[in-house]
Amino acid sequence: MQLYHYPFTAMASPCELRLYGESQALAAAAAEAAKAEVIRIEQTYSRYRDDSVVGKINAAAGGDPIAVNEETCALINYATTAYTESGGLFDISSGVLREVWNFKLGQLPSPAAVAFCLKRVGWNKVHWEAPNISLQQGMELDFGGFGKEYAADRAAIICEEHGISYGLVELGGDIRVIGPHPDGSAWQIGIRNPRDPEVAVAVIPLKTGGLASSGDYERFMVIDGKRYSHILNPRTGRPVDKPMAGVTVVAPLCLLAGTAATVAMLQGEKAAPTFLNDLGLPHLWIDQAGMLGGDLVPH
């Protein structure tokens, strides 16, 4: 059996399928189907497309409810559960905060602007009674917080359905394993240092399940020597004070790993280690000082 690589770009991220196949034709057929699924999810849930489900829900804000299909219902239910279980930290309606926290401008918004914006944030303000959803005027949903992880899980399942038993799916750093290498050995997943992305701080062996990371290395601004992360707390409307530099979680599904990592980032440096320990999922964190923690720390 041969290992085939299929790099592609989706969800604004570099993606790759690594599949072991009996033949190139079989692996290619699986890769095509998996890629098509990732692109389908991207197009269905993109907030940038007017014709996407999310685009339509957002466009109808303040108007009549929109009825959604079974898949979208289940995803919204998942987001609702994540909102409840995280005490409101995981909130798919928090995207509008980016309007006031424009990291490219390098300017802090006024407290009044933040307060005004916060009125348009909050999953509890959304009227959701499956299959009908209606947003209040000015609100917006964003599935970006879990869409990529969901797509990784789906792509792996599609590959399995195409007879692939060994391989992995990576969508912009979020990983779902289809199966280990054919000899049974684990995939070695390198975790980047948020402060120095070229250097791996740890290598995590993964035979099954998913892995997802969240960090503040992607977008931030420094004003008066203070670093403002792009991790925005939907409860305060402000960047999380002292978030972890990065959190990586391993879970049976990439979706669960992603949600756990996102919520841990929103918890801040102090609360995150306890939260992650209590959750019981294998994890790794790096704090602002570059210290490593969690049960996946290399010995």
């Binding site: 399995e160 099954t208 049976p252 599904l253």
Partner: protein
């Protein structure tokens, strides 16, 4: 009947050794070669052969009829 008691005690023993297996961890169990009868035609053929050549038959099925086997 002794064997039945043995079976029951074995299943009791098994119940103590159960390890929780979540739905997404059942991929090995869902493999075709892990089915109770992976080859439907093969098992109905063999049941028929053994039925006609041995005194015993049956077990956990409500299907099938007799035959005038010699």
């Amino acid at each position: 009947m002794r064997l039945v008691l043995l079976l029951l005690s074995l299943s009791g023993l098994a119940a103590c050794a159960v390890e929780p297996v979540e739905a997404w961890e059942r991929d090995f169990l869902a493999r075709p070669e892990m089915a109770w009868d992976p080859d439907a035609l093969g098992s109905s053929y063999r049941n028929h052969v053994h039925f006609s050549k041995e005194a015993s038959n049956g077990g956990a099925s409500a299907g099938g009829g007799g035959c005038g086997c010699n």
